[in-house]
C-alpha cells in the first residue's frame, strides 16, 4: 500500500512538474468544448439578407416586418431592380435574397396564391438549406395567420417539431462528442505514454527488478490519469450546464457511472497500447491515429453513422466512443434511464475486460 501511494505521488510529481502538459490536460477540454459549443456551429444567426419588394403593399410590408423581427435575419439592403440581386450576392455580404412579385396583395386576395422567390447563396449548401428553411417557416407562419382569419378549407399543413433539441443547438452534439474524445485522449494516450516513458528512459528495468508487483506499477500509472479525467468530466459538465445552457435531463449518478466505465475502458486501451510500443512517439502516434481518428470519424460525433457504407458502419461498432456518445446523449438530452442503455454499458464493460485481459497477457515481466 505504501509502495502504491509513493508511486502515485511520484506520478503526480511528473505531471505537475511538466506544467505545459498539465495545462494541456486541464485546458484542452475547456477550449474544445467552447470552440465546438460556440464557434463551430451549424446554427445561423443574424444572416444578412436583401429584399426586392416589387409590390410594396400592406401584405409584403407585414411579411418584411416579420423578417426584421427574426433573430435569424438582418435586412442588409433593400433592392429595386432584378439586376441588383446578382450584384448584392457578389458583394459577398448577403446570404439570401427575398423577392416579392408585383401585385402581391391583389393576387393573394383574388387568385388565392402569390409568389415569393427565395434566392440563396449555395456556395455553402448546408447554410443555404438552413436559411431557406428558416425563411420558409417565417412565411408559413404568416400564411397560417391569414388562414385562421379566412377559415379556408382544404389546407394541408406540415408541422415539424425538433424533439429534445428544439432550438437545434450545436452543444447537444458537441458536449457528448468532446467528452468521448477528451476522456479517451487523456486516459488512453497519456497513460500509454507514461508507461512507455519508463521503458524508454530505462527506469522500467529497475522497477522490474524491484519487489513491486507489475500490476501495482500499472495501477499507479493509471490512477493519476483517472483522477484528472474525473476533473475534466466535472469541468465539461459544469461548463455545458452553466455556459452552454445544456441541462442534464437524466440521472447525474447514472451519467457519472457510465463515464467511469468509459474511463476504465480508455485506461485499459492505453495499457494495451503501452504493451505493444517501445517509444513515446510510437505510443502517441498509435493513440492519435488508432484512437482519435476513429473517434472523430466513426463515433457518430462528426458524421452520422447511418449514412456510412456498411463496412464503416460495422467498423464503428468497435469504437468505444460510439457507445459512450449514445449513452451520454441518452442520459443528458433525452433523460432516459438505465433500462434503455444497459446494452451499451454492457458493451463498454465487455470491451474493458477484453482490453485488460490482452494487456495482462502481453505485459512483460522481463525486458
Amino acid at each position: 500500500m505504501k509502495q502504491l501511494l509513493i508511486f502515485i505521488r511520484k506520478e503526480f510529481r511528473h505531471i505537475l512538474r511538466d506544467y505545459r502538459s498539465m495545462l494541456v490536460l486541464l485546458g484542452l477540454p475547456i477550449v474544445q468544448l467552447l470552440i465546438f459549443g460556440f464557434a463551430i456551429t451549424n446554427e445561423t444567426r443574424n444572416s444578412s439578407i436583401a429584399i426586392l419588394d416589387n409590390a410594396k403593399d400592406e401584405t409584403t410590408q407585414k411579411i418584411i416586418t416579420k423578417f426584421e423581427n427574426s433573430r435569424y435575419f438582418d435586412i442588409d439592403r433593400t433592392l429595386t431592380t432584378n439586376e441588383q440581386i446578382e450584384a448584392a450576392f457578389k458583394s459577398g455580404k448577403i446570404k439570401l435574397a427575398i423577392v416579392f412579385q408585383s401585385n402581391f396583395q391583389n393576387e393573394l386576395a383574388h387568385a388565392n396564391k402569390a409568389q415569393i422567390q427565395l434566392i440563396a447563396d449555395a456556395t455553402d449548401p448546408n447554410q443555404a438549406t438552413t436559411l431557406v428553411n428558416y425563411a420558409s417557416s417565417i412565411i408559413m407562419d404568416y400564411q397560417n395567420e391569414l388562414n385562421e382569419t379566412n377559415k379556408l378549407p382544404y389546407t394541408i399543413k406540415t408541422e415539424t417539431r425538433m424533439l429534445y433539441n428544439p432550438q437545434l443547438k450545436g452543444a447537444y452534439t458537441s458536449v457528448p462528442g468532446v467528452m468521448g474524445m477528451i476522456l479517451l485522449l487523456i486516459s488512453a494516450m497519456m497513460t500509454s505514454i507514461a508507461i512507455v516513458k519508463e521503458k524508454e528512459l530505462g527506469t522500467m528495468e529497475i522497477l522490474l527488478v524491484s519487489p513491486m508487483k507489475p500490476w501495482l506499477v500499472i495501477l499507479s500509472k493509471a490512477i493519476p490519469y483517472f483522477i484528472i479525467s474525473l476533473i475534466n468530466v466535472a469541468t465539461i459538465l459544469i461548463l455545458s450546464v452553466f455556459i452552454l445552457g445544456l441541462p442534464i435531463q437524466g440521472s447525474l449518478t447514472l451519467l457519472i457511472l457510465a463515464t467511469v466505465i468509459y474511463i476504465f475502458c480508455a485506461l485499459s486501451l492505453g495499457l494495451l497500447i503501452s504493451t505493444i510500443t517501445e517509444t513515446q512517439q510510437e505510443a502517441m502516434l498509435i493513440s492519435l491515429l488508432g484512437l482519435m481518428m476513429p473517434v472523430v470519424m466513426l463515433s457518430g460525433y462528426a458524421f452520422p453513422i447511418a449514412n456510412m457504407p456498411f463496412v464503416l458502419q460495422a467498423l464503428s461498432n468497435v469504437v468505444p466512443a460510439k457507445w459512450y456518445i449514445v449513452i451520454v446523449k441518452g442520459i443528458m438530452i433525452k433523460g432516459i434511464g438505465i433500462s434503455q442503455i444497459w446494452k451499451e454499458l454492457l458493451i463498454l464493460l465487455v470491451m474493458t475486460v477484453l482490453f485488460l485481459t490482452i494487456s495482462i497477457k502481453r505485459f512483460k515481466i522481463r525486458l
Binding site: I6, G202, I206, L208, V209
Partner: protein, 314 residues
C-alpha cells in the same frame, strides 16, 4: 553456496539479416563477499550477462543461479535480494535527489532511515544538493545517486553494469573506494567495466570478448600468466615507429598503448631491434622493459583467441 553461478549460458539476438551470439557458452561463478569484475570492450556481452542474472532476460541455453535461486524459476525471490544499477542512468530526472532515494527505498519495501548507514558515505556528498533535480546533477553525482538508490534496500548482491562509464577520473576513484567499503559490509559485488585500469581493483576478474570468456583469475595471476618480457618503446615519430616495429621480423606483437608502444619479441633481441630502428632514422629512441598490465594480457589473449568472424576473414 556460490553468490552467482552460470553454467553454459548462451544468448543470441536475431535480426532479419543475421543472428548475433552475444553470450557464447559462458560459465563462471562468484564467491560470496567478493568483488568480481567482468572486463571487456563494448559489445562483449557484459550487459546481456547482467540482465540474465537480474532475471530481466532469458538465456537461450544453460542455467544460472543467484544465491542458489534459479534465474528462470525463482525470479521473484531474486528480485527481492539483489540490487541492480543498469548502465544507462536510470533515475527520474524530474525528481530531486531526495525524492529519488525515497522512492526507490519505498518500492523496495524499506525506508531511507533504516539503511541510511549503508549509503551514508556516498549520500553525504550528495546531501548539499538533495533538493536539486536528478537531471541537473553532474555525471559523477548521478552515478553516486544511482548507486545510493541501488544500495538503499541492503541487497545481498549488487550488480553494477558499467557504473563508471562517462565519469571523471576523480569520481571513478571515489566510486571504487565506496565499493571496497561495501564489500566490508559483506555485500557481494558483480561489476562490469570497459576500463582495464579498474580491473586490478577487483578480487577476481573475467576477461570477456565477443561473448566468450578469455580468462578468469585474480588480477595478479592474470598478469603472471603473461609469461613474456614486455617492452615499452618511444621515439619522436610514434606513427612511423609503430609501422617499423610491426615490420621488424622478430616482433611477436605490438600495440599503441598510451604514450608508448608495447611490444613482445621472439627471444632477447633488444640490441638488434635498436640497430634496426636506428637505421630507419628514429631519434630519441627509448626501449625499456616494463611489467605487463591487465590490458596487455587482454591484448595477448585476444590474439590467442581470434573471434569467429575474424577467423573466417583470414
Amino acid at each position: 553456496m556460490k553468490a552467482v553461478e552460470l553454467k553454459n549460458i548462451i544468448k543470441t539476438y536475431s535480426t532479419k539479416k543475421e543472428t548475433i551470439t552475444a553470450v557464447d557458452d559462458v560459465s563462471f561463478s562468484v564467491e560470496e563477499g567478493e568483488i568480481f569484475g567482468l572486463i571487456g570492450p563494448d559489445g562483449a556481452g557484459k550487459t546481456s550477462i547482467f540482465r540474465i542474472l537480474t532475471t530481466l532476460l532469458l538465456a537461450d541455453k544453460g542455467n544460472a543461479k543467484v544465491l542458489g535461486n534459479d534465474v528462470v524459476k525463482e525470479w521473484k525471490t531474486i528480485r527481492d535480494i539483489i540490487g541492480y544499477m543498469p548502465g544507462r542512468f536510470s533515475l527520474y530526472q524530474d525528481l530531486t535527489v531526495e525524492e529519488n532515494l525515497d522512492f526507490f527505498a519505498t518500492i523496495f519495501n524499506t525506508t531511507v532511515q533504516e539503511n541510511y548507514d549503508l549509503v551514508a558515505d556516498i549520500y553525504k556528498q550528495l546531501e548539499p544538493f538533495k533538493t536539486r533535480r536528478a537531471g541537473k546533477l553532474s555525471g559523477g553525482m548521478k552515478q553516486k545517486l544511482a548507486l545510493s538508490c541501488a544500495l538503499i534496500h541492503k541487497p545481498k548482491i549488487l550488480f553494477l553494469d558499467e557504473p563508471t562509464t562517462g565519469v571523471d577520473p576523480v569520481s571513478r576513484k571515489e566510486f571504487w573506494e565506496m565499493l571496497k567499503r561495501l564489500k566490508k559490509q559483506g555485500i557481494t559485488i558483480l561489476v562490469s567495466t570497459p576500463y582495464m585500469d579498474e580491473a586490478k581493483l577487483c578480487d577476481r576478474i573475467a576477461l570477456i570478448q565477443k561473448g566468450k570468456i578469455l580468462s578468469i583469475n585474480t588480477p595478479v595471476e592474470i598478469v603472471k600468466q603473461f609469461g613474456q618480457n614486455l617492452y615499452a618503446a618511444h621515439s619522436e615519430n610514434m606513427f612511423k615507429l609503430l609501422n617499423d616495429l610491426r615490420a621488424f621480423p622478430k616482433t611477436k606483437s605490438c600495440f599503441a598503448f598510451g604514450e608508448n608502444h608495447h611490444l613482445t619479441l621472439d627471444g632477447e633481441n633488444i640490441e638488434e631491434l635498436k640497430n634496426y630502428l636506428a637505421e630507419r632514422g628514429h631519434k630519441q629512441l627509448t626501449i625499456r622493459e616494463i611489467k605487463p598490465e591487465i590490458e596487455d594480457c587482454f591484448m595477448q589473449l585476444m590474439k590467442a583467441h581470434p573471434n569467429p568472424s575474424q577467423r573466417e576473414g583470414l
